[in-house]
Amino acid sequence: MTLTITKIAEDLAAGRCSSRELVDDALARIKTHAALNAFITLDEDAARRDAQAADRARRAGGAGILAGVPIAHKDIFCTAGVKTTCASRMLAEFVPPYDATVVRKMKAAGCVMVGKTNMDEFAMGSSNETSHFGPVRNPWDHKRVPGGSSGGSAAAVAARLVPAATGTDTGGSIRQPAALCGITGLKPSYGRVSRYGLIAFASSLDQAGPMAATAEDCAHLLAAMAGFDERDATSLDAPVPDYAAELGKDLKGLRIGVVAEHFAKGVEPKVAEVVREALREYERQGARLVDVSLPNSAHAVPCYYVLAPAEASSNLARYDGVRYGYRAPEYQDLEDMYKKTRSQGFGSEVKRRIMVGTYALSAGYYDAYYVKALKLRRLIADDFARAFEQCDILAGPVSPSTAFALGAKNTDPVSMYLNDIFTIPVNLAGLPALSLPAGFADGLPVGLQLIGRYLDEACLLNAAHRFQQATDWHARVPAGI
């Protein structure tokens, strides 16, 4: 059973179901599958109320395609009056007084939020194991991780608890969990979607995007999320295309760059094979494969692990126990209050990154780390620019492996960080990229990553949509769903 937004909209329009029924069903399924631990907070009463309002509005006419559709927001988006924890003890009881722009826009489009999804603490992690509220389980195998940091959103969509959820992607946090859970997820171009109300991890890399069963659904969701926001100086003042209307163009002549480095050692052979087979499907549809190289991509992970922690060390300074959030119950003086609050309020991965980032920005190290990383970032972006002279999109695996076992990598940060080796360069370059189900390896989903030119989300969505019209990987659901 794949309940897509497109199908839900038809059913709602035809009166075959109501939004209230969909929301009741979603809430019931979330409870049935509580073992996934995909949600941190449910907002049941408001969801039912909003669903009824959506039903009334629909009867009055003029409802858009997202009107009355149940969705979930990653618990990194501020929701007025609803707890927003960022999966941290620091914000475990924090209730924002305002809605993030993404939340506001999706509400305006008629989406009904049922709750907030689990994630890695402050979006720092690739397995959802750093959450203060416990790990999320992969619906395809409960002993495995769903990926991260948007693991709760990915698991919720994969288990069809909700048809769609929002995610954020700083180094792969939408695409990697989408790949590991077998759903479609899009990281838009930097600046395409407002970051206002998205709790910052690394401001120059963070970007919000949709996670759903299909590229078509992502097209509808992105259209609702995207656009200039006067509250975000880094959001782009450019018109938002009607992404769904641009779906369906045939792929004849599309040049797909196959990145040599993305098939090098370290990629599980079975993952590489699934991705190659997906590329053959593109060839069957008339696309042309072009070999390209991103020679500096090997530097992407170290570059990222200087820049992202550096920004994070500053972004997370506001959690000081003074104005909101956790404050240590006992302390001697101001400095002791800071130390105890932050020692107790943050988990170990967050503290590790704050330490790394603080070090990288310190006097005497700044040039060697931060400034050098900025130069590498430029080289990495230049690699993409050169590649796009030869092709229209790039393709390769999202992640070197399928979902790994819970606990397998969380004692070795570097091996965990290497999960994002193919996704990180995209954030550094600010480009859009999409993860879509490409097949299975040993019963676990494999994701295909498509990377586009700046602001060319439409091309990615169309390419993914055409693939999904010819395949049914995106329609497969885990046993018991």
């Binding site: 501020c78 924002p96 709790i199 910052a200 509250r231 100086a233 506001r318 920005l361």
Partner: protein, 477 residues
């Protein structure tokens, strides 16, 4: 040994915008704590800064006014440190790439004119305030001031005395008010100053180790704090000691500076470009617009007042000390249809004294420019004497109406009719035969006695020029 003092000043001028530099909260002073702080000012999770375009305009106006380079591209950076009144855990400032660099300001000292270099001026946000009173042992935080726009103006170490430092500060103070970018209110902290002070043996090329003086919030305290610090450093060095590089706080109650923190205790601020704010890029068109809207600056206005109105350098200086005063003066001239010297005398004399007495600013003067012009017209056309005019002015100040109304009501119209004055003079001469004899015997100073008697007899209304003329004629033997 002879010592030379070296001073550089850092001034924080609060920019006169209605809203904060990165949020829409109002900047008005004196509101109840935390009533002018929104989620952005309080650094709630997820909020973002958005630059107020007005602060950019003001910084550019300042840069152009001091002949500086106004950079087409500047960068906001984060200055990271923990403090309870710093909500984000960092201050957004400009570090490597400020908006304004390399300007200058000409100051006037008793020794003549001197040019002081301005290294840079950059935009930044103010922090909040910690409240310790009435908090029951706790510290309160008021974020009303957090995010207030500041222009930090850093001078070169070009000043050689406390007096020069004060002259620089006053010139700068006048300039920012002329530019209408800062209200200059030092009590409310709108114009704050830190001073870097060092001494060196006269003739030595290298600078001595400096101390940074904070908390000097009046022109008087600047002078006193620097003087104290110079004495302290000279005493220290003369007795074989060394000056430590440190931050010192000026205590005006005790008139001394005290160590606040040493260089070793200083924070590593971990500056880096703020990823939430794109580089600030100014277009040529924007700069041209700012240039076109530039008001007349103090120096130019002073020179024009001297040339156009024939005023002394002193009067021109006094009248252009603030844009409002200069405006008032020119409004008087416009309404009076001339009389620049008379107007200058009145504005710098009676009016200034009265304003000072009542503690009022020129814009709050009880006698507005057109009203004063009305009085000056009556002086010029001989309707009232200069002496009676002072009474008229006082009555106008007290709200008794315009000059003509007061003159009529109080019967202060000057007597200029020759026959009427002659009549009074004849009576005075007749009543004082002894003095008449003295005068005719050559005691010319008795003449003033007759003037006084005549004025008295006319109750001050006789035209003094005519009184003089008629007295001379009738006293003559």
């Amino acid at each position: 040994m002879e010592w030379e003092t070296v001073i550089g000043l850092e001034v924080h001028a609060q920019l006169k915008t209605r809203s904060k530099i990165f949020s829409v909260s109002p900047t008005a002073y004196g509101a109840a704590p935390n009533t002018q702080a929104n989620v952005v000012d309080a650094a709630f999770p997820g909020v973002l800064p958005v630059l107020n375009a007005e602060v950019v305009r003001m910084a550019a106006r300042f840069g152009l006014a001091i002949g500086a380079t106004v950079h087409k591209r500047s960068v906001f950076a984060r200055k990271n440190y923990f403090y309870p009144d710093l909500p984000k855990g960092y201050q957004i400032s400009q570090y490597e790439h400020p908006i304004v660099e390399r300007g200058r300001l000409v100051i006037t000292t008793p020794a003549g004119e001197k040019t002081i270099g301005i290294t840079r001026a950059h935009l930044e946000e103010d922090a909040g305030k910690s409240l310790h009173e009435d908090m029951d042992g706790f510290t309160g935080i008021d974020l009303n001031r957090a995010g207030t726009p500041l222009l930090e103006i850093v001078s070169e170490p070009d000043m050689r005395s406390a007096a020069e430092a004060v002259a620089y500060l006053k010139t700068l103070h006048t300039l920012v008010r002329y530019l209408d970018i800062c209200d200059g209110n030092m009590q409310e902290g709108s114009f704050r100053c830190d001073a870097n002070v060092s001494v060196r043996p006269l003739g030595e090329a290298r600078f001595g180790t400096r101390a940074e003086l904070k908390n000097i919030n009046s022109f008087r305290f600047v002078e006193r704090a620097i003087d104290y610090e110079v004495r302290r450093q000279i005493a220290l060095l003369s007795s074989g000691g060394q000056v430590r590089q440190e931050t010192r706080l000026y205590d005006s109650a005790r008139d001394e500076t005290r160590s606040m923190r040493s260089k070793e205790e200083a924070n590593d601020y971990r500056y880096f470009p703020d990823p939430d704010l794109p580089s600030l890029v100014l277009t040529e068109a924007f700069l041209a617009e700012v240039r076109d809207a530039m008001p007349e600056l103090p120096d130019a206005k002073r020179a024009r007042f001297s040339a156009q109105y024939g005023l002394s350098a002193y009067d021109a200086g006094v009248l252009t000390a603030s844009r409002e005063l200069a405006q008032y003066y020119e409004d008087v001239l416009a309404a009076a249809g001339g009389e620049p010297k008379l107007a200058a005398n009145w504005v710098t004399g009676e009016l200034a004294a009265r304003l000072n007495e009542d503690g009022l600013d020129i814009v709050d003067s009880r006698v507005k420019a057109p009203a004063l012009a009305g009085l000056l017209r009556r002086i010029a056309d001989g309707t009232v004497s200069g002496k009676a005019a002072k009474d008229v002015f006082e009555a106008m100040w007290a709200g008794e109406g315009d000059a003509d109304a007061v003159i009529a009501a109080r019967g202060l119209r000057q007597i200029s009719d020759d026959s009427a004055i002659e009549e009074v003079v004849r009576q005075v001469i007749a009543a004082n035969p002894k003095q008449l004899a003295q005068y005719r015997a050559g005691e010319e100073k008795v003449f003033t006695f007759f003037v006084g008697q005549t004025m008295k007899a006319s109750r001050g209304k006789a035209n003094p020029a005519k009184v003089n003329e008629i007295l001379k004629r009738l006293l003559a033997p």
